[in-house]
Amino acid sequence: MMVDAATHAAIGGAWLDAVLAPRSDFGRRAAARERAYVPGEEDLASERARTTVALAAAFDAATLERVREAIRWCPDPTAIAARAAAGDPLADADFFELGRFVDALELVRSQWPLGVPLAPPSALDAVAAALAPGRERRGFYLADRFDAELETVRRLAAERQAVLDSARSAFEASVAAMVGASVRDGEFILMRDGRAASLPPNVRVIREAATYIVCELVYDDRTLAALSARDDAHSNVARVEERARGTLSAAIGVHARAIVAVTERLGECERECARAAFALAWNACVPTYTSGAIGWENASFPPLAEALVQRGRRYAPLSFAWDGVAVLTGPNMGGKTAAMQTAGFIALCAAQGLPVPASSARVPLVARIAWIGADDRDDRAALLSAFGGEVVRVRGLLAGAESTLALVDEFARTTSPSEGRALLVALVQTLAARGMRALVATHFAGIARETKTTHLAIAGLLHALPIGATCDLDAALAALGEAMDYRVVAVGPDDEPHADAIALAELLGLDPSLIAAARAALRRKRSGAPSASNG
């Protein structure tokens, strides 16, 4: 589905992405495999949303969060499995990570709400069983049980190490006694002033300084024989350990595909949990996918609802419906933009097969959602005026033939009212003629009547705003919130839009004399009296 950056930002796409953001590499890979549903895939989208709602209904947010976190910290065995499958002997740290993966998987399986098997249990049980001899404690050790010869060669190596240590210590002690110096790592230092006339055999000078010499031991035959025997024993240990690793790696490699399949399923589980958590948080429902009228009951625009709640203010869910193209009017700050954002957000969720934040919804799958607003100029249009930017976006909107949900926010509000209104009428007529679905917010009067489209309006102020300007913006917004009826209602085509602009300006603290002058000017205009000024 096409959603350009400006639209994505306007309809809460970034918010939704953040809420659903994968936390693990499994989730990221699963997200990369996902795509939006397109027209014709309504059944698939609906099925996906139903799965999510079922998950949300069955489990609480804490459980879903636990599963997400368990998956997040699950080590990724994909590369290890691939190397094992290719026949590479793995390292002990790889076995350790596989062990942690098996543990984490068990945790996810125990928590996974629907009990869906994450993999053929036999495959993972076999991996766990293969690793088991090395996992008697929490980590991993290539234990003797991995190869019949290991215990023997290790014991021999330890014995020979002890013989070497003993021979070396004895030799070093004998030389140290002869020269009167402490030997460290086969070397020692002799001060020239205290030096014996000659060095003992098996000692050679490796460095001379003005006041001392540094000597190195040349080990005797007994010590060298012990060293050679120890090295042979160590080589044997290395050989048998490598054989054990090879055997264990092959046993893991047999199940490599199952391991990779599990990682894919883990990613999907993480995505499902994130979706279900969203559905749970917003009481989301499975939408009815429709090609007819669009509408919803008690729909939310979560980014706004969340922001308002954080500020201690109420959020009013919206219920409205329309068919084809609708014109939306209403007062400033009455929620026209929020209503359109709600429409866009719900369409976006529906396209992802995601339950929508409403108690019920009828929504189409569209190939494109397009937001047209004066503030949505992209970089290329940065040199254009606000109106110019809008025109460029409208041109783009009309260039596509895909099924589209267009959300047009006060198009042409920044140009001359008469020409702007004419352009808007033409745009609405064009959208309707092309069978597009659109919601067009405006302050221009008579657009719905002239274009013969549905007229929706924000109910508006329930009562007069409190008189007396305040400089406290939060208080003003709270007063406005109490006075405003944010419902979207269907009205007659001839109903005039109410902007309530002067009352709002007064509430927001504009100079009282200016407010009085504006009211006088409005009265004169309505009564047909001439203007008081020459302008």
Partner: protein, 296 residues
Amino acid sequence: MSVAFDLFDCARAAGTRTIAIVGTAKNVGKTVGVRALCESARARGIAYAITSIGRDGETSDALDALPKPQLTLPPGTIVATARDLVPRSPACEILELGERSALGAIAFVRVRATSRFEIGGPPTASGVRRTLEQLARIADGPIFLDGAIDRIAALAGGDDAVIVATGAQSGATIDRVAAVAGDLVRRLSIARDDGSRADAIHIDGALGPERASELIAEHRGARVVVTDPTRVTVRGKLFDQLNERLELRTTAPIRVVACTVSSYGREGALDPRALVRAVARATRLSTFDLFAGLVA
């Protein structure tokens, strides 16, 4: 072994869990000091753990290709090193994986058979601190930290006993070596701020020469508090002036407990007895030449 035991006892007397060794330059016997600690612990039957700041203990130095001693570690030792540096044989027990490093995640391993180790710990100061915390959870006994010249920031915020390693590699004369060691020890040994002066000037970031000069000129006698001693980047006489004219304090002091010296370097050798005495004088700390078996 007696000098090594003396060093071990001196460091343990600080009562800290971690004993860190930092050098005034490369090739000043830092790893020799770590080995002495390891061997002393082993000889006394004390289990220990070990890690490093960055990579060290390799057969030849990664920077200057000089031969460097590896560490031979006995069974039971807990090591935190990059997973690519864990010897493949004899096999170790992998206990945990932690911080990332260029050579793979830091692996916490238990040595099961005597093995030679190249230790490469986390490259960042914060990573080192987290690794030490993880080691403290996993292991019993002392934890040895093989430090790095230019990464003393890793010592900040920890409760470590610090041994300063110096030697002929950090100066051409005994006086110079002693001066460099004294300078580092004084910088690291800034006293703890007791909070008794409400007018203290707190420095959040580094205290470099420019800021130090300004404080000396404009706030003579003031108490200046740095977050930890590693934030002070002032050296030499300017540092001495800072100490003399201001009350320099820190909220997280570092405990320097001893010095070690190595009397020979690439360019020449110094008299070990004179060197050990000079460094002890300059730092006012017990000073050990582990190779020559000297203590001052």
